[in-house]
Symmetry: C2
Subunit: 339 residues, 2 copies
Amino acid sequence: MTILTETPGSKSITIADVAEALGVSKTTVSRAISGKGRIGNETRERVMKYIEEHDYQPNMIARSLAQSKTYNLALSMPGNSKFLDSSFFQQCMLGICKAAAAADYDVVVSMVENDPLSQLERMVKNHKVDGVILSCTWEDDVQAKFLKEQNFPFVTIGYSKDREIIQVDHNHKEACQELTSILLMKGLRRIALLGSNKRVVITGRRFAGYKRAFEKQGLTVDMELVNLDVEDPGLAENAVQDMLQKKVECIICMDDIICYQVLNVLKKMNVSIPTDVRVASFYNSSVLDNHAPAITSLKFDAAHVGMVACQTLVNYIEGQEVHHRTLLDYEVVLKESTK
Amino acid sequence: MTILTETPGSKSITIADVAEALGVSKTTVSRAISGKGRIGNETRERVMKYIEEHDYQPNMIARSLAQSKTYNLALSMPGNSKFLDSSFFQQCMLGICKAAAAADYDVVVSMVENDPLSQLERMVKNHKVDGVILSCTWEDDVQAKFLKEQNFPFVTIGYSKDREIIQVDHNHKEACQELTSILLMKGLRRIALLGSNKRVVITGRRFAGYKRAFEKQGLTVDMELVNLDVEDPGLAENAVQDMLQKKVECIICMDDIICYQVLNVLKKMNVSIPTDVRVASFYNSSVLDNHAPAITSLKFDAAHVGMVACQTLVNYIEGQEVHHRTLLDYEVVLKESTK
DNA sequence: CTGAAAGCGCTTACAG
DNA sequence: CTGAAAGCGCTTACAG
C-alpha cells in the first residue's frame, strides 16, 4: 500500500518563462514556436535555441482551449467478442495510430458494447475530440446518424450508400464477386456463403458481390446456401453440417474466425479439403499460415485502410478537399483449398 | 470532393450563459455542477434543472486547464504483428475502456512499433494524459524506466520485480507451475516449452513456473526442450520438428498463436494428439473452440486484468491507497489433448 | 450560502 | 517585426 505523496512530474516550463528569460513577449515566443505571423529571423532563432536547451514542451491543453481544437481523434471500435478475436481491428488501429501520430494527433478509443451512443456523445459534446473514425458500420448505423446530425467530422471504415458520408473501404463487393466468379469458372455451382452478421454493412456488400457473380453467368443464387448469421462458434458446427447435407461443393467464409471454426468442424467430421469440399476465406491472416491444405482467401490490408481513413479525416478537419468515397484494392490469393 | 464549409457542431452553451440566465455567478454554477463547496439546496436544484433542460455539457478542455488534469489515460500497446494476432490485448483494452468510462476517463492508445519512447514522452510532457497503462512489459522496460524517472503515474499489466512499480497481472508463474506439475504427475517427463519471445516478462515468469514444477519433484529441466524464441510462424515448424526429433511427450505452448501453428504443423506431419504427443496451451481463446481434440489450456481473463489495472491507476491518480502488486487468479482447463 | 477576481497556459486580433 | 491585452471556459482561494 502507498499514498501518492509528491506531485507527479516536475513542474514544466511555460511560454511565460521563456519570454521572461529572453526579455521578449509571450506573443513573440508563441509566434516563434507556431511559425505563424511575422517574426524576425534572429529572434526566432534565439527562442528556438532556448526552448531546445531548456526542453520546453507546450501545454497542449492550453493550446486546445485557445484554439478550440484538441488534436485528438476518436476511434469507435466494436467491443463485441466476435470481433475481438479477429485481428482486423487491431491491424486497422495500428494504421490509424501511425497516421494520427504523423499528423500530430492522438487517438482515443471508444469500445462499443451495448450502448453505441453514450460515450460517443459525451466525447463529442465535451469537446474531447476533433473528429471520429467509425471502424465498423452497420445497417442504419446509429453513430453515423448522430454524427451527421451534429455535423461533426467523421469518416467510416466501411461502405455507405450515403455519399455525404466520408468513407474509406476495401472493395468488398468486387472482391467477393471476383472470388465467386473464379469458383464458378472452375465449374462449381453449389457454393455456400457463410457470414457472421447480416446487419454489418460489409456482409451485405460481400453478398452483393457473390450474387452479382452468379448473375453475370446467367445463374441464380440458391438462397438455401447462404447463411449470413453464423454469430458464434456453436452455430458454425450446425451451419457446416447443414451445408454438407445440402451437398455443397465449396464453402466461402466471410472471415477467418468463421473459417477456423469451419475447418475444425470439417476435420472433426473427416471431410477432406479440397477433395470433398473446397474452402475459401477472407483476410488471409497469419493464423492460417501453416494450415494444410493452404486456404484460398481474399486479402485486405487492414493497417492500410486505417491509415487512409485517418489521413482523410485529418485532411477534412483541417479544411482540405477530400474524396468522399475511397475504395481500396484487394488481392485474391489462390491456394490449394480450392483446387 | 468537398470543402469543409460550416463550423462543425453547433456552438455549445457555457457556464457563463447558465449563470447569466439564472442571475447567479459562474462560481455558483460551477459549484452546483461539481458538487464541491457549500451551496444552497434550492440554488443547486435551479442550476441542475436549467443545465438539464438546456443540455449543458461542460467543456472538458477548460476544466482540464483549470485543474491541470486531463481525465485521459494512455494505453501503451504492442504494435508488433506477433501480438496483434492475439486477442489478449483487445480483450484487455475492452476491460480498460470499461473501467475508464466508469471513472469518467478516456483512454488514448499508443501503439509501439519501433521507438517505444517518442510518443509516450510527448504525451507525458505535453500533458495529454494523467497516467499510463503499459499492457506489455519487457525485461529492462524502457517505458517503465522513463515513467519512473519522471515520477509519472503508471501501472503495468505484467509482473515486475521492482515493487515500487504498480503492477497487476495474472499469476503466470504459478499457473505454468501448476500445469507442468499436473503433466509431471501423469508421468510425463519430456515436456517441451515453446514461447515466442524471451524478452517479454511473462515468458520469463512462465518459464520460472515450469522450472519450479520440475524442481519440486526433484527433477531438473532439460534446456534442450525449452525454446522461448519462436518468433514467427515459419519458426514454429522448425521448432516442432526439432522437438519431435527429441522425442518429447508433450508440448506446452505459451500462447494460442503458437499453439495454432503447432497444431497445424502436427496435423501436416500426421502426428496425432494425444496419442503421439500431448499439447497444452495458454489463453483458451475461442478460436480453438471447435478443435478436435479439445486443447488443455490455462485460462486468463484478459478483460478483467485490464479493468483492475485501470481502476488501480485511477485510484492512484486520485490519491487513494493502492496495492502495488495485484496477482489475479487463473484456471487450468484440462481437456482431451493431454489425456 | 454566494460572488468578484485571479489564474490555468496558450493564441490572436489589434495597434504600433 | 514586436507587444499589451483580451479571450478560450472552467476552478478556486479569498472575502463577505
